[in-house]
């Protein structure tokens, strides 16, 4: 084994949920491990560690990424948003409320990642069809709900946001 590679550390500075943080991290550390282990932001979850399940979905510089497929050192200088920051910003408060009302989560392990994806979907498509919603969340596995309630919740929020916009304009 290459000892040097595993022990290599580097300083990184990034903005996480609006806070500027500087840390020394191992070169091999994944971004999601950095968020969870180093910063204590345990809302992002690990389901597969190879980019399939979507439980670790976060936003980096405004785009959703898999926290398990990016290294912490790659996030040097980036702006990172996790479920904790999303919650504090209230940007997804309506989605979170509707997930609760519609019981669009059971065990909740996939939910932070699912919400991240839903936020991005509604940012780029204000009126998605059910099929478009299903397509958008197809990279986020949920083992409990069977997805129907999640699709319902996102659809309800899209409609309510659209009708509010309509009233305002």
């Amino acid at each position: 084994m290459n000892r040097q590679a595993t022990n290599l550390e580097r300083n990184i500075t990034l903005t996480v949920n609006g806070e500027r943080v500087t840390r020394s991290v191992a070169a091999r550390m994944h971004l999601v491990d950095f968020l969870r282990e180093t910063l204590g932001l345990t809302g992002s979850h690990l389901g597969c560690e190879h980019g399939v399940c979507g439980a670790c979905t976060i936003r980096v510089d405004g785009l959703t990424v898999r926290g398990c497929l990016m290294l912490a050192v790659q996030a040097d200088g980036a702006t990172v948003e996790t479920i904790e920051g999303l919650t504090d910003s209230s940007k997804a408060a309506d989605l979170q409320e509707e997930f609760l009302n519609r019981n669009a989560l059971q065990c909740g392990y996939c939910t932070p990642g699912m919400l991240m994806t839903a936020v991005e979907l509604l940012d780029r498509n204000a009126k998605p069809t059910r099929e478009e919603i299903r397509d958008a969340i197809s990279g986020n596995y949920c083992r409990c709900t069977g997805y129907h309630a999640i699709v319902d919740a996102i659809e309800t929020v899209a409609k309510s946001r659209s009708s509010k916009k309509g009233t305002a304009s």
Partner: protein, 794 residues
């Protein structure tokens, strides 16, 4: 219209929350990312464990060179089977009510032999998980590969190696049953249909992998074990037994659990190893399975081959069933529930919804060198339902009768209960006729058949599949306890009225996302008479909850709910006794409603509960000397009059098969389900939907693929397919309500209904779509290639 608006009420309680779709109070932290799963817990001096796992399906362990691993950075300790055998005794997973069931002793880490690819054989503890994994790579394991028994069909062949020579052969368990006169029934039949059904070996894939953090505090001589688990009291009992500790020395805490589905109710050697090592190291040690480890160490399920036969009369009457089930369970029966249960259920449940009286069954359970197999959501049900419903469709085709009509003619009549099935299982009250009627109208069966016929002319091949099912819920001690398993079938609920008028409920059933805590809060709020927001529910802690079984086999609502109901009624009585004294009124003329003492007759407020709390807790000097307020009460419940509260239901699938590619597009799925009293319609519907999708996974996608050497070939999330949102249909769910008379609430379970019926509905629909091609599939998962093969295209 959503069920949440239906505003049902229950019993005679005013302001009832029972039957209402209130949101789950404990889900808010989860949407905020503020849950506490085991891997989120940080303790001082926390050490991390990683396991070396066997690369061979069967191998002699000659020894290890551990020097380099021990010297690796951050390593705290390296442990082998011999080290752990000094503190943790082995177990043998047999139960006396499965006569003849045999298994071999299983250790936390094996002493001299690995029996499946992925079995943990050595453990490293380090300051970080990464360091532990680095050190694992430095272990030199001297393993001598042995011939492996892989194929279950060949497990009993004399040329196959016997995995545990001391057991004599690879047959773990066999059950036979012969009821009525099967031979005559088959002789007199207008048609006899036969099929061999394969149900693939698959697994649970909880999104949160298995996780345990064991913290031994030498000063207190006490374990605190944080565990992603369904049955904390069972875990406590087993840790006590195998590490020789008194109950007071073991506290098991289950906080948020990221999916369970039966995966997290078994005793896993790597988890017991973690506990044993924490005891040796006298510090907290955490094991989080990674996904690759999950695929080769979580229990697998199903893996059945059933040869089925059914006899039918010309008028459509089912005359009898005969089945021969073979299932491979890996090298050990799994502790403590055993791995005989699924085959046993297949025998019990096959043909169960129907009136026939002639039934012959044989089930054989064999050892093999694969991941151990045990109970996963809807144990045995999807197999029995597939065999039964698959045969019915074949029989319907043979006598040219509509498959819905065959079911209509043969289901046990709604007014024929209580009744007994050919296999001997007892039904208190089922609603097959009503459910079937409701399903056909809900899906508009006749119009769908017309649409199907029209589209067929255009070369579009759609299929309709129906599956009737029964489900075992609310298990009594008959399930495990009678066989000697220390698994509680009873549960208790303790309620405490606080001075401000809020109620704390602690209960033995547990939460893994089903909504257990929400339902218990609804029942307690209704029974006591307080707002839902004033009830806080505590689950998953052996130190603070009454002894109970946890959540499995659809028992949380039916058994935990009834304990909560009885406890709530008792607390209300105690409250009214004190209120009567303070208000100088007969307790019988008062009631508790919405957090207030009121006159029962007209609802006029007499006193807020908070005032009663103030007086009772802080000014008891103002109460008569002989009045002793008891604001903590506990009640327990266990079903006794029936071994199980059977429920029933029916599902239908509508799908399209692309006959060029073999791809299946699911268009729609329906379910009518009867779980008795519905405590929270939305939660029940979502249990059913989630269960259906897991069943669809089994039907179309999920299988643990093995090569002939016992290597699992698809042990990653990318290779093992689970249902994704884009492939799943919308699912309509509705209910028939036949409450059980065993409890006052009348609630039965609903969590396994979806998984029980979905595979058969989907596979029947595929075969219906393929009927013009005289093609038939019977091996799950049904892949596009299987379909093309059946059509003779590849």
């Amino acid at each position: 219209m959503n069920a949440r608006d239906s505003g049902l009420t229950f019993l005679d309680r005013p302001n009832s929350y029972i039957g209402r779709s209130v949101p789950r109070p404990n889900a808010r932290r989860l949407v905020m990312g503020r849950g506490t799963y085991v891997d989120d817990i940080r303790l001082p001096r926390l050490a991390h464990i990683a396991f070396l796992r066997s690369p061979h399906a069967h191998a002699k362990i000659r020894g290890f060179n551990l020097d380099a691993a021990k010297a690796a950075p951050g390593v705290i300790g390296v442990f082998t089977g011999a080290d752990l055998a000094k503190v943790c005794t082995p177990w043998v997973a047999v139960l006396s009510h499965f006569k003849g069931l045999k298994s071999a002793p299983q250790y936390a880490l094996p002493l001299d032999r690995a029996c499946w690819t992925g079995e943990a054989i050595c453990a490293v503890v380090a300051e970080t998980r990464a360091q532990a994994e680095d050190a694992i790579a430095l272990i030199e394991a001297d393993l001598d590969p042995l011939p492996a028994a892989v194929d279950m069909e060949a497990a009993l062949d004399p040329s196959t190696p016997v995995i545990h020579p001391e057991l004599g052969d690879n047959l773990a368990f066999e059950r036979t049953l012969d009821v009525g006169d099967v031979d005559t029934a088959f002789r007199n039949a207008a048609a006899v249909v036969e099929q061999t059904f394969q149900i693939g070996r698959h697994t649970g894939v909880t999104l949160e992998p298995r996780a345990i953090l064991a913290d031994w505090n030498d000063g207190e001589e006490k374990f605190t074990i944080y565990h992603s688990f369904q049955a904390p009291h069972m875990m406590q009992d087993i840790v006590c037994k195998h590490l020789d500790l008194p109950e007071a020395s073991v506290r098991v805490v289950c906080k948020d659990v990221g999916g369970s589905f039966g995966i997290k109710v078994h005793i896993y050697p790597d988890e017991m190893a973690t506990v044993a090592i924490a005891k040796i190291l006298k510090r907290p040690v955490k094991f989080i399975a990674d996904r690759m480890e999950s695929f080769v160490s979580d229990i697998h399920a199903r893996d059945h081959r059933v040869k089925g036969k059914m006899a039918i009369a010309a008028d459509g009457e089912i005359l009898g069933f005969e089945i021969d089930d073979l299932t491979g369970i890996g090298p050990y029966s799994v502790y403590p529930r055993t791995s005989a249960v699924e085959a046993n259920q297949v025998v019990n449940l096959t043909g169960g919804p129907y009136r026939h009286k002639n039934y012959r069954a044989r089930a054989r359970v064999v050892f093999q060198n694969k991941v151990p197999m045990c109970q996963y959501r809807a144990v045995g049900h999807p197999i029995a339902v597939m065999v039964t419903e698959g045969l019915i469709d074949l029989a319907a085709a043979a006598i040219k009768m509509d498959p819905a009509k065959v079911r209509e003619k043969n289901v046990i009549a709604d007014d024929a209960h209580p009744s007994v099935a050919a296999s001997g299982i007892k039904f208190e009250k089922l609603s097959h006729q009503q459910s079937l009627k409701k399903l056909l109208s809900m899906m508009d069966y006749d119009s769908l058949r017309k649409e199907q016929a029209e589209l067929r002319k255009k070369g579009i091949h759609r299929g309709i599949g129906i599956a009737t099912f029964i489900e075992i819920t609310n298990p009594s001690a008959a399930f495990y306890g009678v066989g000697g398993a220390r698994i509680s079938s009873q549960d208790g609920c303790t309620l405490r009225l606080n001075p401000q008028g809020g109620v704390i409920a602690s209960i033995g059933v547990t939460e893994q996302g089903q909504g257990t805590e929400a339902v218990i809060a609804q029942v307690v709020a209704t029974a006591v008479g307080v707002p839902l927001s004033d009830v806080r529910v505590i689950t998953g802690d052996t130190d603070t909850t009454p002894y109970g079984g946890g959540t499995w086999a659809c028992r949380a609502a039916g058994i935990g709910g009834e304990a909560a109901w009885q406890s709530g009624k008792a607390l209300r009585e105690n409250i009214l006794e004190v209120a009567g004294v303070i208000l100088q009124a007969a307790p019988g003329t008062l009631d508790v409603r919405d957090g207030k003492i009121v006159d029962k007759a007209n609802g006029n407020e007499r006193m807020p509960l908070a005032e009663l709390g103030r007086v009772a807790y802080f000014r008891p000097d103002t109460l008569p000397a002989d009045l002793k307020p008891e604001f903590v009460v506990t009640r327990h419940y266990v079903p006794k009059d029936y071994p199980f509260a059977f429920t029933n239901g029916i599902q239908a699938s509508y799908l399209e098969v692309d006959t060029d590619t073999g791809f299946v597009k699911l268009l729609k799925h329906w379910c009518v389900e009867d779980c008795g009293t519905v405590l929270n319609p939305q939660l029940v519907d979502e249990q059913v939907r989630g269960g259906i999708v897991q069943g669809i996974g089994a039907a179309l996608f999920e299988v643990c693929r093995y090569d002939e050497n016992g290597q699992m070939l698809n042990a990653t999330m990318a290779d093992y397919l689970v249902p994704m949102a884009s492939e799943m249909p919308d699912i309509d769910v509705t209910h028939v309500v036949s409450p059980t008379a065993s409890s006052e609430l009348g609630a039965k379970g609903a969590g396994e209904a979806g998984t029980a019926g979905a595979p058969a509905a989907v596979v029947n629909a595929i075969n219906d779509a393929l009927s013009p091609f005289k093609a038939n599939v019977a091996a799950q998962p049904v892949t596009p290639q299987d379909i093309l093969k059946a059509m003779g295209k590849v």
